[in-house]
């Protein structure tokens, strides 16, 4: 299972590239990761690939950690470190540079226009993400749960963890 050093280098380089392509988050380059890790290199199985995403979503923290899980499945802690570093390094560097550039020019009309123009799109993308997550599952009970959580987080100060725990309990009892 463990790849040769040359393969590691190729994988590292490929993930550096994917990092720069991952506009909207690492999830957007998921299809290409599947192509390389499962198809081309055979490092992990289809089941492992899906499990990695499920685990990262069910665990606390950013979803990009699914990359660390895949690296771990492929080659233990070293694999995890290599792949997570590769997917993070280019995008974090770029984010810092661009944010600083824009901060230094915040009085510019162009920078102001960018922020004003992108704001409704950013908010629509959040709603779209919620929509895509909701319609993927059949049945109506989970929709009810999603709608309830939406209202509670929007209109009340109930703690996020309370909502997550309630969802876990309802799901474990087989209500969904």
């Amino acid at each position: 299972m463990t790849p040769a050093p040359v393969d590691w280098l190729a994988l590292f380089a490929h993930f550096l590239l994917l990092s720069l392509l991952s506009i909207g988050g690492a999830i957007t380059v998921l299809p290409d990761m599947h192509r390389v890790l499962v198809g081309q290199m055979g490092l992990i199985s289809d089941q492992q690939f899906n499990a990695a995403i499920a685990i990262a979503q069910a665990s606390p923290g950013p979803n990009v950690l699914f990359v660390a899980v895949m690296g771990y499945q492929a080659a233990g802690l070293v694999g995890s470190a290599v792949m997570l570093t590769a997917i993070m390094l280019p995008s974090t560097t770029l984010a810092l540079l661009v944010a600083r550039w824009a901060r230094g020019r915040r009085e510019w009309r162009a920078v102001q226009a960018f922020k004003a123009g992108m704001a409704p799109i950013v908010i629509a993308l959040l709603l779209a993400a919620g929509w895509i997550l909701s319609v993927g599952t059949p049945g109506w009970r989970h929709l009810l749960l999603t709608a309830t959580a939406t209202l509670l987080i929007w209109r009340t100060r109930v703690h996020v963890l309370v909502l997550i725990a309630a969802g876990a309990v309802l799901g474990a009892m087989g209500w969904i």
Partner: protein, 205 residues
């Protein structure tokens, strides 16, 4: 003295972190509450509990974080950290966001295989997923309040938002093209609406 403000703001956030360590701890704490995505928790903690950012500032930072490649919440952590304590702050916030969750996710991976097939575990995952979707939508509604002070005006914001939602959620067009095409139109309109004179720069993005 560095100010906490960007532009298009209706208000300035009343508080700021006391140190890079403060940033690290705050981002660790919020990452640990973020099951199925950290954005909802980040908005709550940064805007409502710590009050380091206003809603408008959060939307602005999220816009930058979302247009750039990389995980949105990680970009937000970097930018927020950088704003208060430069690159030390950026590293502290990102490390806070990633370190403890990384350890947890690897531990979960190690034990997951034994329990993956258990119906209660699968059900719990489904329930958490449904709630996580609701948290994202609720956060979107909350942040929509920031559009009231947007220089484009509410009707234009609503039109752009509806188009973006339809393209991404319903038509499932590639995000990149939606961002480029709709982003250009929207930013150009905003540019027209902003009073000329303040800026020597042409539209660059």
């Amino acid at each position: 003295m560095r100010t906490v403000s960007l532009m298009i703001q209706s208000s300035v956030a009343p508080a700021r972190p006391s140190s890079a360590k403060d940033l690290f701890l705050a981002f660790s704490a919020l990452a640990l509450q973020g099951f199925g995505g950290v954005l909802a928790v980040a908005q709550r903690v940064l805007c409502e509990q710590r009050r380091w950012l206003t809603k408008e500032e959060f939307v602005e930072i999220l816009a930058v974080g979302q247009v750039l490649p990389g995980p949105n919440v990680c970009n937000v952590a970097l930018i927020v950290g950088d704003r208060f304590f430069g690159w030390r702050g950026a590293l502290a916030a990102l490390a806070g966001m990633m370190t403890v969750p990384l350890v947890i996710v690897l531990l979960v991976t190690a034990v997951y295989a034994q329990y993956a097939m258990h119906p209660a575990v699968a059900g719990a995952l489904k329930g958490m997923g449904a709630v996580a979707a609701g948290l994202i939508v609720g956060t979107g509604f909350k942040l929509a309040g920031a559009l009231r002070v947007n220089p484009m005006g509410l009707p234009a914001c609503a039109a752009v938002g509806v188009c973006a939602f339809a393209a991404v959620a319903l038509l499932r067009w590639p995000l990149l093209w939606v961002l480029v095409a709709l982003g250009c139109v929207s930013c150009f309109y905003a540019w027209k609406r902003l009073r000329p004179g303040a800026s020597p720069a042409p539209e660059t993005r």
